[in-house]
């Protein structure tokens, strides 16, 4: 084992916090699973300690990758959120729906330190809606001095970021070193959703700082001097500096991590992945080694955003799901982390899906035999669970990653079973090919965090008419920008590749144009 060749991946889930150590050849050398604590950080430390205890020397660790729910919890619980001065550049347009409309009252009161809609922003064809009113920005900032951060959203800024950048300069000269969120760096087209994500991002700076400090404290106390990375919602990593600027992107990293981990552990790039946890099973699709992303809007804490999250079908079926004696075999309730005490096979008094799977001969778990009188109910529960899984697999398996068609999209993809409750799944699942159960499947999400790539994304609008090779030149420029963003997030500049490029034509324009989305990704720089 070379010096400083290990990486640790940690994934904070709803029930458990998992950690793995991975060597230079991407082999799992240590793993641990600990209950997630209410404050998240305690459980994280426990999982980290458990993995470190298995290593010959903690100083072999060079990098730590963390996928965490700190940001999600902060929003859901309205805790530790900063106060944000909200600036929109778009007047006289956009005034029919002001910023923060439809936010839950308590969240708005927690976060909003004043809002202003200022003259500026761009039309779809690149003209200014109005000249940027920097005096109004200064007047607003002088009134709103109590803000911890500033969120700036300009109309069509993903296509032209000039106004957002100019306002950011004014904010810095007026308020000094206050953190600023710029919408063109965070979201895609769709003003209200992008603005919401930008405001949430600004509100999360303090949370990001706290997590980073907690993680680095935990690491330094244990004698680790390492680089740290955060997992984001598309299954890629960002450096700790980058995450400090874009904390909102850490939301929803769990499903992406488990999909990427499943791909790595199974060696399969196109598959259906079922991650069976304590209370639910998340079913997603791997296409070319990356999660298939959802087209639907994503809600976080009652706020609509336009993040691209993995397309996940969640069913209320996990190892802790309670089995009843009634006509409905189970109702979706779970014993959660109390499974070790409450399940029949652990000598408890609650029949769970874990008991049902053991009774069906699918796994050897626990310390007690399943009581006779439960066998009939448990067999019924297994049949119902198999149907539920088959139905969910059938729903996702017909989906396709893009507009293209290929046979691998036609329902014969293998099913990779991961997560602590993977033994619940039958040996054969209708609608899927072979069922693959890779080694270390129970910590696939932590593996996914440890082996992830760093990425960068850009979205813009480009004219497709014009003379000669204008379009080709603009696409090339966007690719370079996406690659530069991936490098800024921590990727090795020599190994960055364009992994996604889509052009969507726009209607009702004077000259033809497309909405261009480019994503670059690459392994972390050595």
């Amino acid at each position: 084992m070379n010096e400083r060749s290990l990486r640790i991946g940690i994934d904070v889930g709803g029930t458990n916090t998992d950690a793995v150590a991975i060597d230079e050849a991407d082999r799992v050398v240590a793993k641990a699973k600990r209950p997630t604590s209410p404050d998240v950080t305690e459980g994280l430390r426990a999982a980290l300690d458990a993995v470190l205890a298995e290593l010959p020397d903690p100083r072999l660790v060079a990098r730590v990758m963390l996928g965490t729910t700190h940001a999600t919890n902060a929003i859901l619980e309205r805790r530790a959120l900063g106060r944000v001065a909200v600036l929109r550049l778009g007047a006289p347009a956009t005034t029919s729906v002001p910023p923060l409309s439809e936010w839950p009252d308590d969240l708005r009161e927690t976060v909003a330190a004043g809002t202003a809609v200022i003259r500026g922003g761009h039309f779809v064809d690149g003209r200014e809606i109005a000249p940027l009113d920097l005096d109004a920005v200064k007047r607003f900032l002088n009134e709103e001095v109590r803000a911890d951060a500033v969120a700036i959203t300009g109309v069509f800024s993903p296509a032209d970021a000039d106004h957002e950048n100019r306002v950011a300069e004014v904010v810095r000269s007026e308020l000094g070193d206050v953190p600023v969120s710029l919408s063109h760096e965070i979201g895609s087209l769709g003003l209200l959703e992008r603005e919401n994500a930008t405001i949430l991002n600004a509100a999360l700076y303090g949370v990001a700082r706290d997590v980073t400090i907690a993680l680095q404290d935990a690491l330094s106390v244990r004698g680790l001097v390492v680089e740290t990375f955060f997992a984001q919602n598309d299954g890629t990593l960002m450096s700790v500096d980058y995450a400090a600027r874009y904390p909102v992107l850490t939301i929803g990293s769990g499903p992406a991590n488990s999909l990427r981990g499943a791909a790595y552990l199974s060696g399969v790039r196109d598959a259906i992945v079922a991650d069976v946890g304590g209370t639910s099973t998340d079913i997603g699709v791997l296409a070319g080694g990356f999660p298939r992303e959802s087209a639907a809007a994503v809600e976080i804490g009652g706020i609509t955003t336009n993040f691209r999250m993995p397309d996940i079908l969640s069913i209320a079926l996990g190892g802790g799901t309670i089995v009843g004696r009634g006509s409905v075999p189970f109702s979706g309730r779970s014993v959660g982390y109390r499974i070790g005490a409450e399940a029949l096979v652990f000598g408890g008094r609650t029949a769970t899906m874990t008991d049902a799977a053991v009774a069906a001969g699918r796994g050897e778990v626990g310390t007690h035999p399943v009581p006779e009188e439960w066998l009939g109910h448990l067999a019924g529960a297994v049949r119902a669970a198999d149907e539920l899984v088959a139905d969910a697999v059938d729903r996702v398996s017909l989906g396709r990653s893009g507009s293209g068609r290929s046979n691998s999209d036609r329902g014969d993809r293998p099913l990779v079973a991961v997560g602590g409750g993977a033994f619940l799944l039958a040996a054969e699942v209708p609608g899927a090919g072979e069922v693959i159960r890779p080694e270390h499947a129970e910590v696939a999400n932590a593996v996914g965090a440890a082996i992830a790539l760093a990425s960068g994304r850009i979205e813009t609008i480009i004219p497709t008419g014009g003379e000669g090779n204008t379009r080709a030149r603009l696409i090339e420029k966007a690719k370079e920008e996406a690659a530069a963003r991936a490098v800024a997030a921590g990727a090795d500049s020599a190994l960055v590749q364009i992994v996604e490029l889509s052009e969507i034509p726009l209607s009702y324009l004077s000259e033809p144009a497309v909405r261009l989305q480019v994503k670059a990704a690459g392994p972390l720089a050595r």
Binding site: T95, S96, V97, S101, G190, R395, L506, L509
Partner: protein, 356 residues
């Protein structure tokens, strides 16, 4: 009939407008947000019937036009309807008495609540389509033979343009040019009529119908059955979306969706021809429903309408079809918005006759 549109009604109206959008008409969410915001700001919006208005009262039909990608990003300015009212006052020497939706299906069915609230006017319980259609001449007033000789448009920066076109074709052409110059999004008023002239030239009761459609599924044990009963709709098929072929040509989102039957419909296959809206439903070469009758794809479990852009492989859907307003079944109605107006070489047959 209810007298006012409250905050609480907006969600039901939006759901109903999505059902009447037959797959098109634009996303109802932004309109619903604007409507709720305007009601909070300016109060509830009275909903009036045509008979409640004096014969000489002016009715202001409003609709947003432009590219959906643009209106999702460059949201309307609050004062766009105010500029249009000012222009009407200059031209007619008096104010409009009520706002009307030009298109109840989709976004333009919900947003007029915001515009009426902003203007302090009631909303007329009527529209010009009873559903969604893609072209400006596909309105009841055109079918009724009323000339399109005045169009007023306002945009996000405050420009106001008055067009006096010679016919519907020029109306469409000029309105489109103005819209593009205004950044591909504008508010438009056309067919500004008196309440007396509206009689027989608009489709009445469609706003309260949309709200009733939205309410029908609220808390229903079987939302799909409740929706079918409310609409008087035929279930063409219940199944799974197994193929979706999209293409963008001539500014329209065209496509074909294939639904394979499940449960009682196992073994059957329905294909749906789409041009922004769902236009023709075919099984084994036999047409089961066609435009101008309404065809909507709903989520089988929740009975929520699914827009064309929201169709995804593997979705469990039910396809519903029900009769259009009788106005569209007249010879001029069919000439304007029948199957041949969309390029299908089909003789129109009413959905209830085909499926009786």
């Amino acid at each position: 009939m209810q007298a006012r549109i409250s905050l609480d009604d907006v969600a039901a109206l939006a759901r109903g407008c999505a059902v009447l959008g037959t797959g098109g008409g634009g996303d109802v969410r932004a309109g619903a947000i604007a409507a709720r915001r305007a009601i909070r700001e300016h109060g509830e919006v009275p909903l009036v019937a045509l008979r409640d208005l004096p014969d000489d009262a002016l009715v202001l039909p409003l609709s947003g036009i432009g590219a959906p990608t643009v209106s999702h990003e460059m949201i309307h300015a609050e004062d766009e309807p105010v500029r249009i009212r000012e222009e009407i006052e200059r031209i007619f020497g008096r104010s409009p008495a009520a706002v009307m939706s030009s298109e109840i299906g989709g976004a333009n069915g919900v947003a007029p609540v915001a515009w009426a609230a902003r203007l302090g006017l009631p909303l007329l319980d009527a529209d010009a389509m009873g559903r969604a259609f893609p072209e400006v001449q596909m309105v009841s007033m055109y079918v009724a033979g009323i000339p399109a000789n005045l169009v007023i448009m306002s945009d996000v920066v405050g420009n106001v343009v008055t067009i006096r076109p010679v016919d519907g074709l020029w109306s469409e052409r000029l309105a489109r040019a103005v819209c593009v110059a205004s950044g591909s999004s504008a508010l438009m008023a056309d067919y500004i009529l008196t309440a007396g002239e509206c009689a027989g030239a608009v489709i009445e009761g469609t706003v309260s119908r949309a709200i009733a459609i939205g309410r029908a599924t609220e808390g229903a044990a079987d939302p799909l059955a409740a929706l079918c009963a409310e609409l008087g709709a035929t279930r063409l098929i219940g199944g799974k979306l197994t193929d979706l072929d999209r293409r963008t040509t001539g500014g329209f989102a065209r496509g074909t969706a294939t639904i394979e039957g499940t449960g009682d419909d196992r073994g059957r296959t329905l294909t749906l021809e789409i041009q922004n809206e769902n236009l023709v439903a075919v099984e084994d070469g036999r047409v089961l429903a066609m435009v101008p009758d309404l065809i909507t794809v709903v989520d089988t479990q929740s009975a929520t309408a699914i827009q064309t852009e929201g169709l995804r492989y593997g979705q469990r859907v039910t396809v519903l079809a029900w009769p259009c307003d009788p106005l569209w079944r007249t010879p001029r109605g069919l000439e304007t918005a029948g199957p041949r107006a969309f390029g299908y070489d089909l003789d129109y047959l009413p959905v209830e006759k085909i499926n009786s």
